[in-house]
């Protein structure tokens, strides 16, 4: 290495030295990068996920009848404050750039399929003609780079961003806003309101309220609930738990929580151990795609079925139907994946869109169960009942075969 490295080393040292000088002489910050106005919004702590104000708002939004066409839930909006978009009105086909957090779980995969089918249909209108996607594979750093790439190389007419995490992606979203092209954020939020619209269902607190309230209504004080959580530190999931934990505490429900990473084997072990300790009357989940193994743990232990909240994932709905247990399927609205492209079309047409587009998020109850099972006949277990793509041209084969672009 000695002889081989020397020139390389010398060059490297020279390069570093020279660049340090340049940097000192006039630090050329990338022109697109500037101090953001947001600066983390000044909220310094996420020590506690519970946020009374947001909780109260979501509590109310659960009962609001949304505006918008009744047969198109993906265009409905709850208490919208419309924003003017006339500055973006223009003719011609537009190219959208989509910075996706990942497609690493069934919920995101289902949404991604729906989004692509929506794109195919929109192309016929001639407004949105192209979408370029970069997938960050669950990595904040990659997503920041993806957004920067789009800004400099993407030749984008507008941005759609599904942030991987809230605070970390905020500066990159602000940079995208500085291009003066419309930015649409959906699913998780960011700490800036520079986006033209932020599309999301009511939220994690509403999920926590719906589910814990259902368990509380069907259980007695002192009953035991096992809470199965995926991962710590993910805001949408932590908010669900924050609300549920608060309400369980107030109702005097004995609750114990576990992290399972969504692995059904882990879920089954945890529930089995809890059943070995004593009876369990309820099961609460912050995401329902491992729910069946929790139910099976009760079957294998020879215990009565619990009162349970899962998710609108079909494996859970089918198991619910089969066992006729007392259950609720909360929904983290999957059809929100359609809305961003539709919003983009509206924006380029100069139509008003809500600055915060809150989509309905109503759980599937025992009364709706049959209807949703019928509608999703033939879909795979990992499909989400409220995917909302029934009127798209690829329905139902694309979802049945799960064609992921």
């Amino acid at each position: 290495m000695r002889t081989g490295l020397k020139p390389v080393l010398r060059t490297a040292v020279a390069v570093v030295g020279a660049s340090a000088l340049i940097a000192l002489a006039g630090c050329t910050t990338d022109p697109t990068v500037e101090p953001g106005g947001g600066e983390g919004g000044g909220e310094d702590s996420s020590e506690e996920w519970f946020d009374q104000e947001l909780y109260d708002r979501q509590f109310e939004e659960r009962d609001v009848v949304p505006d918008g066409p009744e047969d198109k839930p993906y265009l409905q909006m709850i208490s919208p404050e419309m924003g003017d978009t006339s500055e973006f009105e223009s003719d011609g086909g537009k190219k959208m750039c989509f910075a996706n957090a990942s497609i690493s779980n069934p919920w995101r995969q289902t949404g991604w399929i729906t989004m692509n089918e929506q794109l195919k249909d929109l192309k016929k209108n001639g407004v949105i003609t192209e979408m370029e996607t970069r997938d960050a594979q669950d990595n904040d750093d990659t997503q920041i780079a993806d957004i920067d790439y789009f800004i400099s190389e993407g030749d984008c007419d507008g941005f759609i961003i599904s942030p991987n995490s809230t605070s970390a992606i905020t500066p990159a979203v602000e940079r995208a806003c500085k291009t003066d092209k419309p930015v649409i954020v959906f699913d998780r939020g960011v700490e800036t309101d520079c986006a033209v619209t932020f599309i999301h269902p009511i939220g994690g607190f509403a999920w926590g309220i719906d589910t814990s309230q259902f368990l509380i209504d069907n259980l007695d004080a002192g009953d035991k609930v096992v809470a199965l959580r995926i991962l710590p530190g993910v805001d949408v999931l932590e908010q669900r738990w924050a609300a549920a934990d608060k309400l369980f505490g107030e109702a005097d429900i004995d609750v114990v929580d576990y992290f399972t990473e969504g692995d059904p084997a882990e879920i089954k072990k945890v529930v089995s151990d809890e059943l070995a300790k004593g009876d369990v009357q309820g099961v609460w989940m912050d995401a329902g795609d491992g729910a069946v193994s929790a139910v099976e743990a009760f079957e294998d232990a020879g215990k009565d079925y619990p009162v349970m909240t899962g998710e609108d994932e079909l494996s859970f709905l089918r198991k619910w139907k089969e066992t006729e247990m007392t259950a609720l399927a909360p929904v983290y609205t999957n059809f929100q994946w359609r809305t961003p492209l539709l919003a983009a079309e509206m924006i380029f047409n100069g139509e008003e869109v809500p600055t915060e587009w809150v989509l309905p998020q109503s759980p599937i109850t025992a009364e709706d169960l049959d209807e949703y099972l019928d509608r999703n006949e033939g879909m795979p277990d990992g499909h989400y009942a409220k995917f909302g793509g029934e009127d798209l041209s690829g329905f139902p084969e694309v979802w049945q075969d799960r064609v992921i672009p």
Partner: protein, 354 residues
């Protein structure tokens, strides 16, 4: 022809081939692989993995491993962001504190490996799990705030070249210098190549291994600092998001460093990191299905390392009917692990066996 080239040169030839294929493929989409924005994307992709891989090279040269890096990175990003807490004046104390904490973690790794005799795989896996437990218990999400002055580290650049990449290459130069020109470096090569021979020739083989582990953790700490700078906050999951543990090991081996220690180079590693970065950039521009990206990464790792290994077999001019197939990343140095310092280009492999 292959025979006469040293592995590092081969890595860069591979990189050039990837670049050529990449340039052709990218041009079919109407883009340019070498446009400023794209170069910036590639180099940004190199920075974080580069820092980690430099450290990983040190431990691998010492015939150990470091699987704790993702959690060290997360902890570093939180330490930095919380200490800075948005104040410009706290940048330097925060950086120093981060370096100190990561150095302590590295020291712990190194002591477990040398004094307690725990295999590097197990020791760093265990330390990583302990750090993960600490992070999960004490942090529920992103914390702290990085002041604008420090965000510039991750956000600014000279033309298309990010400052962070320049710093990373600077660090690589320093580490390469240490490896080639200092006693520590020579002893690390010796200890990694063959601990017993090293001991017999008067090298205290524990010290370089401990030093390599400290170096690895501190490098992971730098990567964490860079991530804090780019994210603007500290995050308890930012290290594990990128599976930097396995990717950095793959990059080091892709760069021609031998997994069982004693042979390799920092510049090879940088080449390996660059190959990954170009490949990632290429697949993103081509809008590959994310699942297929993993398939391609896996295939490239196997095929590339098989090519190096092939060359090594030819170069070795086998003395025995069948060259011994040793344990792979065992701390056990094999008799044929050619462990003389800095011999990569000066001594051919066959010579060192004699």
């Amino acid at each position: 022809m292959l025979r006469r080239l040293d592995t590092t040169a081969l890595v860069y030839i591979a990189l050039i081939i990837v670049l050529i294929i990449g340039a052709i493929l990218v041009s079919t989409t109407g883009r340019n692989l070498f446009s400023p924005g794209n170069i910036r994307d590639i180099l940004t992709g190199m920075s974080v993995l580069g820092f980690v891989a430099i450290g990983q090279t040190l431990v691998i040269l010492g015939a150990s491993l470091d699987l704790s890096v993702p959690y060290v990175m997360s902890l570093a990003s939180l330490t930095a962001a919380q200490t800075m807490d948005g104040r410009d004046g706290m940048v330097i104390p925060a950086v120093l504190l981060t370096v100190a904490i990561t150095a302590l973690i590295g020291l712990a790794n190194g002591l477990f490996v040398t004094v307690l005799g725990v295999h590097g795989f197990v020791a760093t896996l265990g330390v990583g799990l302990m750090l993960k437990g600490y992070l999960d218990t004490n942090y529920q999400g992103t914390e702290g705030e990085v002041p604008w002055s420090f965000q510039l580290f991750g956000a600014s650049g000279i033309g298309p070249i990010p400052i962070s990449t320049i710093v990373m290459l600077g660090l690589a130069a320093v580490v390469a210098f240490i490896l080639v020109r200092t006693t520590f470096g020579h002893h690390l090569f010796a200890a990694g190549g063959n601990a017993e021979v090293a001991r017999l020739s008067g090298v205290r083989e524990r010290l370089p291994i401990i030093g390599a582990h400290i170096g690895s953790s501190v490098c992971a700490g730098f990567a964490g600092l860079l991530l804090a700078s780019r994210l603007g906050v500290g995050s308890p999951t930012v290290g594990s998001q990128g599976t930097y543990d396995l990717l950095s090991i793959a990059a080091v081996v892709l760069g021609g460093t031998v997994l069982m220690g004693g042979r390799g180079s920092i510049w090879g590693t940088i080449g390996g990191v660059a190959i990954f970065a170009v490949l990632d950039n290429l697949m993103s521009v081509m809008q590959f299905n994310p699942f297929l990206k993993d398939v391609v990464r896996g295939l490239v790792i196997i095929v590339a390392v098989a090519l190096y290994a092939r060359r090594r077999i030819i170069a070795r001019r086998i003395r025995f009917a069948q060259a011994p197939q040793g344990p792979n990343i065992v701390a056990v140095a094999r008799p044929d692990a050619d462990g003389k310092p800095g011999q990569d280009s000066t001594v051919t492999e066959e010579g060192s066996r004699a």
